[in-house]
């Protein structure tokens, strides 16, 4: 990312939030554009072609959800949603509308940077990078379908591999229950979340150091699962 800085468009009506987002992104090598309302944001998204959009849900003129829909109608640019207290239903709806991830206020900059990098990696990877996704001690080769944990090959059932595969293609980002069920069980078990819970339990036994205290395959209550791109060393942001 060093040769030409990624451009992030911040759409938020709070000047103080924009200020720290600018500082945080610029310190981490991004170039930042700001928009204080939806109209300016849509204009900037159209004409300045940013690499990433950070979109606040509660804007004074148009609701963030609608902006998301409008941008998604013509662009696949990664979009991270910021919101104060979003319900799980709302999060699922936003993800379905095409948001790459969400961050609930208040948050630390590290969390947002991690999500942003994951979203960017997913967006640009398809053509440029290798087929291997690594998440902490886990590495998944999407072409050869081999899964290594600390360098050792582990054996997964077909369904377990499907699960790892989907999570790995979204590494660092949340994937909804719906999406997982749809892609793993294409048949009539699609709505049955119990199967997913059991499958996750089994996969955790194979990839987590302590399956009772998962660090890699994280549960997002009421929304879905997330494969962490790196293991957190300390709880500090």
């Amino acid at each position: 990312m060093s040769k030409s800085a990624n451009v992030v468009l911040v759409i938020d009506d709070e000047p103080k939030i924009r200020r720290f987002l600018r500082a945080g992104f610029e310190l981490n090598g991004f170039s930042v554009q700001e928009a204080e309302n939806a109209a300016d944001g849509l204009k900037a998204a159209t004409f300045n072609s940013p690499d990433l959009i950070v979109l606040d849900l509660d804007l004074p003129d148009i609701h963030g959800g609608e902006i998301l829909e409008r941008i998604r109608s013509w662009s696949n640019v990664p979009i991270i949603i910021l919101s104060v207290e979003a319900s799980e239903e709302q999060k699922v709806r936003l993800l379905k509308l095409g948001a790459d991830d969400y961050v609930v206020k208040p948050f630390g900059i590290a969390e947002l940077l991690a999500r942003s990098e994951s979203a960017l990696r997913r967006y640009f990877k398809s053509s440029t990078e290798s087929s291997v996704v690594s998440a902490g001690p886990l590495s998944v080769d999407l072409v050869t379908r081999s899964v290594l944990l600390n360098g050792d090959q582990i054996r997964l059932t077909r369904k377990e591999y499907r699960l790892v595969h989907i999570l790995a293609t979204h590494v660092g980002l949340v994937v909804t229950h719906d999406q997982l069920l749809k892609e793993i069980w294409s048949g009539n078990q699609r709505d049955n979340i119990q199967y997913l819970r059991i499958l996750v339990r089994k996969l955790r036994q194979k990839i987590e150091t302590d399956p009772n205290d998962p660090r890699l395959l994280i549960t997002e209550s009421g929304v879905g699962y997330r494969l962490q791109s790196r293991l957190e060393t300390s709880p500090t942001d």
Binding site: E14, K16, I17, R19, F20, L21, A23, G24, L27, D58, V84, E85, E88, E89, K105, P106, F107, G108, I109, A110, T157, R158, K159, E160, W185, Q189, I193, Q194, Y195, R197, I198, L199, V200, R201, K202, P211, N212, D213, P214, T219, S221, G222, P235, T236, D237
Partner: protein
């Protein structure tokens, strides 16, 4: 006693009529001295009319006869004798008696009609007063006292109201004049609903008691017992119908009160809803936005290399983050409280792994639990639970907060999930201050805080109450056990479990 009293009054009235005749005679004698008059009997009509209008027909007849006798004795020839010689005078006297009797009768009828009118007027006045009082009734007790007041005032009757309490019990009767038999019947009326009315004859006092249920459309509020006394069948029927009218009025008022209460409830609910919305908007946006700016800025500062290099500075940015999260937790509690008080907690049930719920709660509170040793113990084989996992996670987080708050830093907090046949228990045990015996019962109350820690440990007392409500909404319960003060506390969330046939799941997940 009553009859004798009546007789003596009647005798007095007759005597008064005769006195009137005497007075008229004295006046006539005086007048006769001054100037000669011929139509004496006409003057005697005066006492007749007076007696009729004052005391009724009987005294009027007496006055007429007395007047006739006096004029015969004093003014018709021969004087001072009842004998009559002149046939013309006999005709005069008879004519006088006839006119006197007719006018006496007419006058007394006028009197009784006037009296009836006056009585009706006072009755109307009482009724008017009664309905005014009914209109001013805002509670059931108001209404009851209005009924009692009216019955006593207008009918002079004994009335007692038996309040039907929720458990179909009776309030202590308001006075002791109610016969035991009547009271027993009232009890049976309240126990069995749908018995509208009873009439009981009390042998001891020879009086008739009316028992009527006082009810609105939805509920029976009680039974009113009225002593309508004794008397002829017609009199009792008349009094009964009056009592019925009153009770009808009262039922209408009760219905009005019911509607009023429903409206009040609705208004209150609406206000709570508005407050919730206002609180929600205000807390979420006005408070959380600045918090977001503070935490975000602190995190950017903390990640900048000069600050990172200096441990003291870095610790400051971490302290800011901790305090922001604490404030955010308070805001979350207030938002949750508003949700609970407006009954807008609607769990979205979904099959979840209890391990996930617990580990998510622990990791979301990792900063607050950093000073304690966390030990996790999970049963190997755990069923899934069908709950709103965010609500349960929030509740479990509250229990973790309490454990961290009320136990010394450095001590262990053990977190566990155990499976029973029909339930799953998520528990948090600490080695902290414990719970005194007298505090146990108050734990689930909103804003309960132990007096022992009010001075030393910050908190609103809302957390445990919120947790209890959330878990109830998920069909579970919270149990708290402690061996006493200073001996640690174990708080558990008990949720109904569902063991799914493992083989079918294995088949579908194994491929």
């Amino acid at each position: 006693m009553h009859a004798r009293h009546f007789l003596s009054i009647y005798a007095l009235q007759l005597l008064s009529a005769l006195i009137c005749v005497g007075l008229a005679t004295a006046g006539l004698l005086l007048l006769d001295r001054l100037l000669p008059i011929s139509l004496f009997p006409v003057v005697y009509l005066i006492p007749v009319v007076i007696a009729a209008t004052r005391w009724g027909t009987g005294p009027a007849i007496v006055a007429a006869l007395g007047g006739g006798a006096a004029s015969d004795f004093l003014f018709f020839t021969p004087f001072y004798s009842f004998r009559m010689d002149d046939p013309q005078e006999v005709v005069d006297l008879l004519l006088f008696l006839f006119v006197a009797l007719v006018s006496g009768h007419l006058a007394s009828r006028l009197r009784s009609e006037k009296e009836a009118l006056r009585k009706r007027e006072t009755e109307l006045q009482y009724l008017y007063e009664f309905s005014r009082r009914l209109a001013a009734c805002f509670t059931i007790p108001d209404l009851i006292s209005a009924i009692q007041n009216y019955l006593a005032q207008a009918l002079g009757q004994q009335a007692a109201f038996f309040h039907a309490k929720t458990e179909a019990n009776l309030e202590t009767p308001p006075s002791d004049f109610v016969p035991r038999e009547v009271e027993a019947r009232v009890r049976s009326m309240i126990a069995k609903t749908g018995l509208p009315a009873y009439t009981i004859f009390d042998e001891a006092t020879h009086s008739v008691w009316l028992l009527r249920a006082v009810h609105s459309e939805a509920t029976v509020h009680g039974v009113i017992a009225v002593n309508i006394g004794s008397g002829s069948r017609a009199a009792i029927a008349a009094r009964t119908s009056r009592v019925e009218i009153i009770l009808e009025e009262a039922s209408l008022t009760l219905q009005r009160l019911d509607i009023g209460k429903a409206m009040d409830d609705a208004k209150l609910q609406l206000q709570a809803q508005l407050l919730k919305d206002a609180l929600h908007g205000m807390l979420s946006h006005e408070l959380r936005s600045p918090l977001a700016a503070i935490q975000g800025s602190a995190s950017v500062l903390g990640s900048a290399s000069p600050v990172r290099a200096d441990g003291r500075l870095h610790a400051l940015t971490e302290a800011i983050t901790d305090e922001v999260q604490r404030l955010d937790g308070f805001i979350q509690n207030l938002v949750n409280t508003a949700r609970v008080t407006t009954n807008s907690v609607q769990p979205r049930l979904e099959w979840a792994d209890p391990r996930d719920i617990v580990s998510a709660a622990v990791s979301s509170r990792s900063r607050r639990l950093a000073k304690h040793r966390i030990q996790m113990q999970f049963d190997d084989d755990l069923p899934l639970v069908n709950v709103d996992s965010t609500l349960v996670e929030e509740s479990f987080g509250q229990l973790l907060d309490n454990a961290a708050k009320y136990s010394p830093s450095g001590s262990a907090i053990s977190v566990g999930v155990r499976a029973g046949e029909a339930q799953v228990t998520l528990s948090v045990s600490d080695q902290g201050v414990g719970i005194a015996r007298d505090e146990q019962g108050k734990l689930g109350q909103r804003e309960f805080r132990s007096a022992r820690h009010r001075e030393t440990i910050a908190g609103s007392g809302l957390g445990f109450w919120i947790a209890t409500t959330f878990i109830k909404a998920n069909g579970g319960s919270i149990e708290v056990a402690s061996h006493g003060e200073g001996k640690g506390t174990m708080a558990s969330i008990v949720l109904p479990a569902c063991w799914v046939d493992d083989s079918s799941l294995t088949a579908l997940t194994y491929e």
